[in-house]
């Protein structure tokens, strides 16, 4: 008998470490990003004039000298907009493209210059004379709370009777934690290139995670239907959530310039302008109060969060909601109350960033558990393990969803063993007793992250698959490629479905003209949603091919089987290409759309109950750090990660997400500090002052594994799990380890209440404050 390759044995099938579809282009410098596309003759370049005040009335905007400057072709203000002066992703009407009467953050666009060269546009913009009447500005979160600047009412989550449970607990604690924001620093900054077409048509090449939204908002701005606007994106040089809602502003300005001049127009922000003008991760104030028993089991918990939203709503409601949904992180709380206020400040409007509020929401309970362990004199890991969601599905989240897929107990114990956590912890405590200046710390923290857009209707996706008569395949779907490997994963799904090699599948640029009404590539859901949609399209075509072959060969359809590299039709075999050709000759449609809507999810925001998530992704990490207690300097010595990616579609791509997510989370919690001065001007607006992790900051010893037992219990695409965001929160282990080391610096006599990011300055302050408390005891 001939040996048949099993379907998964062909190159490019699912569950295999297939290289990124653009890898060869990346390494030869031939992958085109928007700014690399050949420019059409007459292309204009745009520079944006921004507010220099955080809050002011615009008394007068004098742009006369700007208009007459060399090379200037058009100067654009709010009055030039034919349609709506708003790019709010939630149609809140509070995200003007250009400020009209009031500016509400330093960096807010007031006007734009389109010129023959970028330098000419930049030079001209400097000639603007803007007369501001200063208004009182609210910059910090605490100022916003004092002034009660809530942008929207905050819903509540309530499970059981938390107040009674806390009162009845033998032990109680409460505290406050400030967690900083984060700039995305996608290596490719915001950019859009608009090309006017016939009549009202506009083509926009944009670096965006959300082409459909850019299309719609550009249409609203131009006063034309969505059908007149096409948005295309082949790839982004990183997104991380920063290209979910923010690109609409950039595309709208480029499209406006193109409409007003009739010439192609490009807006590529300078890095400083990008950092000043566009939104970031929300910083949060987290207040918590818990009651627990002698074993550290939490009896009741209250969480009062506040998010700095900046000047407008943007996606803040969904982000603050997700923070609330993750207040429990991995822990079953029998009684809980969660509330998250959404505060307006006169700073840039904060936005989506990998984790989308989830990471901030988890920080309070992780800090609290460290503090419980300190109070009880126990290993924090034992307190964590005493509280994790049980595998039996008996526990409810604070939003009344049963956690039926918890692997936390098994996964954390496996990691504790493989990382040798307990032995190392004992050794670290022993060595800390000997060392005066250098103190080490270790922590194991778990992650449970809910997968689905919590705005239920966004959980839908479409795909378009063509099979050509030579058997090659054109694949398009609504997801966007930002480096995460979505395209290759969905390509693998389609190659697997047809039993063909991946190089027979052409993965094509995302465009609103092929798949309409798409959701953002966000919420880690890209592969889950688009993989299923593409599989559905492939299935439709396969069914047509099977029906055709069955009829032609007079056999039952179930005897037409698509295997690796061939199609078996009864006792005959032919290549996929031969069958495709025959089907074309037989006048069979070889093109299909595919659609997917995540089943079984629902959520009632008014009651705070439902099943907002289809499933949970899990992971855990152990970090070991050393701090220099004289300087506050930190070094991450070793990291062990065990992450549940389900049955990974592409383990190599997923490993990249896990490692990269961890390092990005590490930056957020340790070195990346956004700092606004009293006037509301961002002073850390370049990588020279804003410290992004470099190769030097990664631990030399990093041991990452995808959990071998991982399998999605829900019928997701090939039983994989979403992996984009969850690993970012594994870096909380580093923050807890720093806390442990800082605690060692007090001789384990007081718990250091460290805020994030744990910069050397904050570490020193936390040690000093804790040592002071210990001294008073």
């Amino acid at each position: 008998m001939n040996e048949r390759p099993t379907p998964s044995a062909h190159k490019g099938a699912v569950h295999r470490p297939v290289i990124h579809d653009s890898a060869e282009r990346h390494v030869t410098g031939s992958a085109l990003y928007v700014d690399d596309m050949p420019e059409l003759p007459g292309t204009l370049h745009i520079h944006v004039g921004m507010s220099e005040r955080a809050h002011a009335r615009l008394r007068a905007i004098d742009l006369q000298s700007v208009r007459t400057a060399p090379g200037v072709v058009a100067v654009l203000t709010a009055g030039d907009i034919p349609g709506v002066n708003d790019v709010s992703p939630v149609h809140a009407g509070d995200d003007p493209i250009f400020a009209e009467d009031i500016v509400e953050y330093a960096g807010q666009p007031i006007f734009a210059v389109a010129a023959e060269t970028l330098q000419a546009a930049r030079n001209a913009a400097r000639l603007a004379r803007i007369d501001y009447e200063e208004l009182p500005a609210i910059i910090t979160l605490d100022e916003a709370l004092a002034a009660a600047t809530d942008l929207a009412p905050a819903p509540e989550l309530r499970l059981g009777d938390p107040d009674a449970a806390i009162s009845a607990s033998p032990h109680r604690l409460s505290g406050t934690l400030h967690v900083g924001g984060q700039d995305h620093f996608y290596l490719e900054g915001q950019v859009a290139y608009a090309i006017p077409g016939e009549g009202a048509d506009m083509l926009v090449h944009a670096s965006t995670q959300h082409p459909s939204e850019v299309q719609h908002l550009v249409g609203c701005m131009l006063g034309v239907p969505d059908h007149a606007v096409t948005v295309e994106v082949r790839r982004m040089g990183g997104g991380f959530g920063g290209k979910e809602s923010q690109p609409a502003l950039i595309a709208a300005i480029a499209a406006l310039a193109a409409r007003r001049t009739g010439r192609p127009a490009k807006l590529r922000l300078d890095r400083d302008d990008d950092m000043v003008m566009t939104g970031k991760r929300h910083d949060f104030r987290l207040d918590y109060e818990l009651g627990y028993d002698a074993d550290g089991r939490i009896q009741g918990a209250r969480f009062e969060f506040a998010a700095r939203c900046g000047r407008s709503l943007d996606l803040s409601n969904a982000i603050a909601d997700r923070a609330m949904f993750h207040a429990d992180n991995a822990y079953a709380l029998p009684n809980a109350y969660v509330h998250a206020r959404r505060m307006k400040t006169h700073t840039v409007s904060n936005t989506a960033f990998r984790g989308f509020g989830g990471p901030q929401g988890m920080m309070a309970i992780e800090r609290a558990i460290d503090e419980i362990a300190f109070a009880l004199g126990r290993d924090p890991l034992e307190v964590r393990r005493a509280n994790v969601y049980p595998a039996d599905g008996s526990a409810l989240t604070p939003y009344h969803m049963a956690v039926t897929d918890s692997v936390l107990d098994e996964l954390t114990e496996e990691l504790a063993a493989s990382s040798d956590y307990r032995t190392r912890r004992a050794a670290i405590r022993a060595s800390n007793a000997e060392s005066t200046a250098i103190k080490r710390g270790i922590a194991l923290t778990p992650v449970k992250f809910g997968i689905s857009f919590t705005t239920t209707h966004l959980n839908q996706a479409g795909a378009l698959v063509h099979v050509y008569k030579d058997g090659s395949v054109h694949l398009n779907h609504g997801g966007t490629e930002m480096g995460q490997g979505l395209f290759v994963k969905v390509g693998q799904v389609v190659a697997e479905a047809f039993g063909i090699e991946l190089d027979q599948v052409k993965i094509t640029a995302t465009t609103t003209a092929k798949v309409p009404n798409t959701s953002a590539t966000a919420a880690s859901a890209g592969s889950d949603l688009n993989g299923m949609a593409a599989a559905a399209a492939a299935q439709t075509i396969k069914a047509r091919l099977a029906a055709f072959a069955a009829k032609k060969h007079n056999i039952a359809e179930e005897h037409v089987v698509f295997e690796a590299g061939r199609v078996r039709i009864g006792n005959q075999e032919m290549s996929f290409a031969e069958l495709a050709h025959q089907a074309w000759m037989g006048r069979v449609s070889l093109s299909s759309t595919g659609f997917y809507a995540t089943p079984d999810i629902h959520y009632d925001r008014a009651t705070g109950r439902g099943r907002p998530f289809y499933y949970f992704a899990y992971g855990a990490a152990v970090s070991e750090v050393a701090i220099d207690t004289l300087t506050g300097e930190t070094r991450l010595l070793r990291v062990d990660i065990l992450h549940d990616a389900g049955r990974s579609l592409n383990p190599a791509i997923d490993m990249g997400q896990i490692e990269g997510g961890f390092i990005q989370g590490l930056g957020w919690l340790t070195s990346e500090e956004l700092w606004w001065n009293d006037e509301g001007r961002l002073r850390t607006h370049a990588p020279s002052t804003y410290k992004i992790p470099t190769a030097n900051d990664r631990p030399d010893d990093m041991r990452i594994a995808i959990w071998a037992k991982g399998e999605n219990r829900e019928p997701t695409i090939h039983r994989s799990k979403a992996v984009g965001e969850p690993p970012l929160m594994l870096a909380i282990s580093a923050f807890s380890a720093i806390t442990d080391a800082a605690c060692a610096a007090t001789g384990y006599r007081a718990f250091p209440r460290l805020d994030a990011p744990a910069t050397p300055e904050r570490i020193l302050m936390a040690i000093r404050e804790a040592t002071g408390r210990a001294g008073k005891k």
Binding site: P17, I19, H20, S22, A23, E24, R25, H26, V27, T28, G29, S30, A31, L32, Y33, D35, D36, Q119, H184, F185, Y186, L187, E188, G189, R235, M236, G237, G238, F240, R268, D270, R271, D272, M482, G483, Q484, G485, A652, I653, M655, G656, E659, G660, F662, I663, Q664, A686, P687, S688, I692, P693, T694, A695, N696, R698, D700, M702
Partner: protein, 160 residues
């Protein structure tokens, strides 16, 4: 504005372009010559995405005046492959060292400069050589491993 003619060699080929006074080399390569392999990342010499080799030395082309490249020999990622991929490119490709790919050109140039002068670097030397190149997607491990892998494949000896 005054435009000045300059000549240099780019990836072994003579180029002559007119550049503006004050124009940086990155802009001249991308706009005048049409080599878009070096990328604009920060425009202030702190991210490394624009790294090119000028007479064998890694330089941040966003900070270098185009006119100072007169007579120089410049290498970019676009010229790295011959008939086959350079061992560094092969190692990056096989080793999943690029995710979004935007930092990759700069990384490859920093790595090539290292291997050209030190064909067998230690891990620490590799980390040091790319410490001025920011990657926001990976955690650097695949990049470091790829450079060590390329060194093992003889990348430095080949180009030396």
């Amino acid at each position: 504005m005054a435009r000045k003619p300059i000549q240099f060699r780019l990836n072994g080929k003579d180029e002559a372009v007119f550049v503006e006074e004050g124009q940086n080399l990155l802009d001249a390569l991308r706009r005048q010559v049409g080599d878009t392999s070096p990328k604009y990342g920060c425009g202030q010499g702190t991210c490394g995405a624009c790294t090119v080799l000028v007479d064998g030395e890694p330089r941040l082309s966003c900070l270098m005046l185009a006119e100072s490249a007169e007579g120089a020999s410049i290498e970019t990622t676009a010229g790295l492959a011959g008939a086959e991929l350079h061992p560094l490119q092969r190692a990056f490709l096989d080793g999943f060292a690029a995710q979004c790919g935007y930092c990759t050109s700069g990384m490859l140039m920093s790595a090539k400069a290292l291997l050209d002068r030190n064909p067998s670097p230690t891990r620490e030397q590799v980390v040091d050589a790319i410490s001025g190149n920011i990657c926001r997607c990976t955690g650097y491990e695949p990049i470091i491993d790829a450079i060590l892998d390329a060194a093992a494949r003889g990348a430095g000896r080949r180009s030396a």
